[in-house]
């Protein structure tokens, strides 16, 4: 059933495939994301309780969902690489980590900026924000481990093991943080929950969410291609590609 996927295990095929879809995805991403942003900023209705600060919701929630989704994607890639010895999966995991970390940071900062007018403080140790902060540490740890190795194959294996340990730990961490929170908090109810969304709010949310998904795919494709080149630099197809690139640059310079 999966026979059609087999050619893509070849780095060269995947490299060119990623290169072909990048232009399409970028155009779609730019279009959908701009529509989403403009809709969210100017046309979506203000919330009954939270006023116009609710517009932060349209960035904060997609970023938070994507941060977790990308981590699971990394875990799947790490699992594939360890179980089926797919070298390419290591490259894709390495490509996903910085993207996930950026979205986690965006989720934290927008959450903080939303919390200040709502709760009166830039930061609050509630279950969701704390779990997101720990997720950021997990991402940065994977990136640091990957950079610490000279040999990229070893780096991929080590980072893969760390990712898998992290993904198993993630539900445990979330549960324990929530438990810790109920022990100490009691009365404060998190106002950043998903409200019952009216249809007028759902549309800009969907546009922003899918725009972000497409943007993430574009960036991961670009980084994936860089990782493939870096890991296969002695192969002849890489050599010919690089010299073609060089001669194109020389003719452009002339």
């Amino acid at each position: 059933m999966w026979k059609w996927l087999h050619p893509y295990a070849n780095p060269e095929v995947s490299y060119h495939f990623a290169g072909r879809i990048i232009p399409w995805l970028s155009v779609c991403a730019a279009l959908i994301l701009s529509i989403g942003f403009i809709w969210a900023l100017a046309f979506a209705p203000a919330d009954y309780q939270q006023g116009d600060s609710f517009r932060i919701f349209y960035i904060h929630v997609p970023a938070a969902s994507l941060s977790m989704g990308i981590y699971f994607g990394m875990a799947v890639a790490a699992f594939t690489s360890l179980v089926w010895q797919f070298k390419l999966a290591d490259a894709s995991a390495a490509a996903m980590a910085p993207v996930g970390a950026t979205f986690t940071a965006i989720a934290l900062i927008t959450g903080s900026a939303w919390g200040k007018p709502m709760w009166g403080t830039w930061w609050i140790w509630d279950a969701r924000l704390t779990s997101e902060l720990i997720l950021l540490f997990l991402y940065l740890g994977v990136m640091a481990l990957h950079n610490a190795f000279e040999d990229k194959n070893l780096a991929g294996k080590a980072a893969g093991i760390l990712t898998l340990v992290g993904v198993i730990n993630l539900p445990i961490i979330k549960y324990s943080v929530e438990w810790w929170n109920t022990l100490h908090q009691g009365s404060t109810v998190s106002k950043l929950g998903k409200p019952s969304m009216s249809i007028e709010m759902l549309w800009p949310f969907m546009f922003c969410f899918f725009g972000f998904v497409l943007l993430v795919s574009v960036i991961i494709c670009i980084r994936f291609r860089s990782e493939i080149l870096a890991r296969n630099s002695i192969r002849p197809w890489v050599r010919t590609l690089v010299s073609a690139h060089l001669t194109k640059e020389k003719t452009n310079a002339v």
Binding site: L41, F43, S53, R55, I109, A113, P117, I222, S226, R239
Partner: protein, 82 residues
């Protein structure tokens, strides 16, 4: 349009600073990510090109040296024969 005027749009019902801070930071971080991905790709290609040039040069030098050795050996052989 939810807002009556451009200044109302910037003000965001009093929450202007926080809304624009969030959108601004998100856009800046995303731009940094995109730019770093593209320049990283160019870097990788440049590094591989440099390494390839160095290896090609080394190979050329080695070939030249081998040729020189061969010429020297054939000269010596000629002298020995004479």
């Amino acid at each position: 349009m939810q807002f009556d005027s451009f200044s109302a749009f910037i003000d965001m019902g009093g929450y202007g600073f926080y809304v624009w801070l969030s959108y601004g930071v998100a856009v800046i971080l995303l731009l940094m990510l995109i730019i770093s991905s593209i320049t990283g790709h160019k870097h990788v290609i440049k590094n591989i090109a440099q390494r390839k040039q160095r290896e090609d040069k080394l190979r050329q030098v080695r070939k030249q040296r081998q040729k020189q050795d061969k010429d020297l050996k054939s000269d010596k052989h000629q002298e020995a024969v004479e």
